[in-house]
Symmetry: C2
Subunit: 290 residues, 2 copies
């Protein structure tokens, strides 16, 4: 399937990510349809030409016309939605998603899905601490990673459709990972970092600290503004991988604590050198000029 | 003392912070002199009109002409410098600094200093992960906090000189803290955050993680590039305060770990709500348009 102006695209869930997908794909000249249970969201999206058509309900016609369906829902709602509405899919439709954890979602959905449709998981690694379509912005993808997360059951065609979406949305890098590797990686780079930011934000109750805060503290706590419904669900769905990463971090942090207690200056310096060297690998490529 | 174009200002140490001070003050029309042991640094500063005059040595004339001397040196070098060169100061000179820890520096220097000069500590809470005068940039101060850290021995005049410097450099906020409160605060907002960033950077050796990294991880590890000579010294000079803050953080992080083990969704959500609410206090005021 080659995605072009004749492809019928349906996005289910127009939050910050679904809305940003809609903006990005509409700007590429595609006809984007959407379903969101919130009436104001659909009205806003229509009034601002973010989508071509929309509904607050699982409209059989809208669903049945879609060649590609992109789900941007909470994981448990995503599963329920498939269970309740999969009879409406067009035969041959390709489904994908933006869900932040995969192992606990992908196999369940592939197992319950009709044989004549295909679901392939994907994860756009971008976000925003503000929520809702009003804050959506397709530029959050331009310097970000897009990960296709196929299982053995996925076809080359479906992987290709995902890669096309990643390219249309102008992600800086498109890659592929199996579900388990994805969840381990996400436990480290995304979930552990949110656990750290939250703990840093709540561990010291001194008043007026904000008067003295530098950029370091602001950087480390930007993601401490966190949507508790979404993230508590994501944490618990990836509990084992996350707990493992938390343990690795705690062990390393304790090592530093011990070196400090023992005034082991050389040990601290050595850790700082390793930290500096490893951080250089993670410098971001500059996004194209907008 | 009113700082104006007739005030002779001397900066000792033209690194990233000393250099940024020099640029900012020179742009305000002041005559800035500098001492740095590195010849290239002085040559660069002169060639780029960052300073008016400079020397690689503790030049008696240069020191003796200064009304205000600003020290931007490693803490232990700062103390040695005062011990070795204080005989050259002009009577009535006001000395200040940019050192990141205070308790272990301020009293020692005030105790050893000649009676006819005054040293008042100050801390510009801004920095940069790159080093050296080539990377200096006075704009790093424009949205930042500037803290005057007086003791009971400091005069109103000296405090006022510090505040004038803060204003000339266009800091967003100028405040005052006693040395112990300063060190406790810095242990939390600056040193603890660097310990976290380092531990996060070195706790997981998986290769190719950089291919999948989102903004969260980059934000939390920006400061993992760390000058080991400076920071190991700052950590050890503020050891007790830092260890206390590390303990507070570890306790909070362990609480979250436990809630996750027990799948205590409500507890996790509650912590997320507290984190979100507290983070809002720390949103940065926008700097003026440049």
């Amino acid at each position: 399937m080659k995605i072009n102006e004749n492809t019928n695209i349906l996005i289910v869930g127009l939050g910050i990510i679904g809305g940003s997908y809609a903006k990005g794909l509409t700007k590429k000249g595609l006809k984007v349809h959407a379903i969101d249970t919130d009436r104001e969201t659909i009205e806003y999206a229509l009034a601002n030409n973010i989508i071509y058509e929309g509904s607050t309900e699982a409209d059989a016609d809208l669903i049945g016309a879609a060649d590609v369906v992109i789900f941007a829902l909470y994981p448990h709602i995503f599963k329920e939605w498939i269970r309740d509405n999969q009879q409406y899919f067009k035969s041959g439709a390709i489904l994908t998603d933006v869900t932040g954890v995969k192992g606990c979602v992908v196999y369940d959905i592939q197992n319950m899905l009709r044989d004549d449709c295909e679901y392939i998981a994907a994860h756009p690694m971008a976000g925003c601490e503000r929520l809702g379509i009003q804050n959506s912005n397709e530029k959050i993808f331009h310097a970000a990673n897009y990960i296709v997360v196929p299982t053995e059951r996925n076809t080359e065609e479906a992987k290709d459709v995902c890669r096309q979406i990643g390219k249309l949305l102008r992600f800086a890098r498109i890659s592929e990972l199996p579900p388990n590797d994805h969840d381990e990686m996400i436990g480290f780079v995304s979930q552990l970092t949110h656990c750290i930011a939250m703990s840093l934000m709540t561990c010291n109750h001194t008043e007026k600290l904000e008067d003295y805060t530098g950029d370091s503290f602001r950087d480390l706590t930007r993601i401490a503004r966190i949507d508790e419904t979404m993230w508590s669900e994501l944490f618990l769905l990836n509990k084992d991988a996350l707990l493992h990463q938390m343990k690795l971090f705690t062990m390393e942090f304790s090592k530093l604590e011990r070196m400090l207690m023992e005034a082991d200056k050389e040990g601290i310096k050595d850790m700082m050198r390793r930290s500096t060297a490893r951080r250089k690998l993670f410098d971001k490529e500059k996004p194209e000029e907008e």
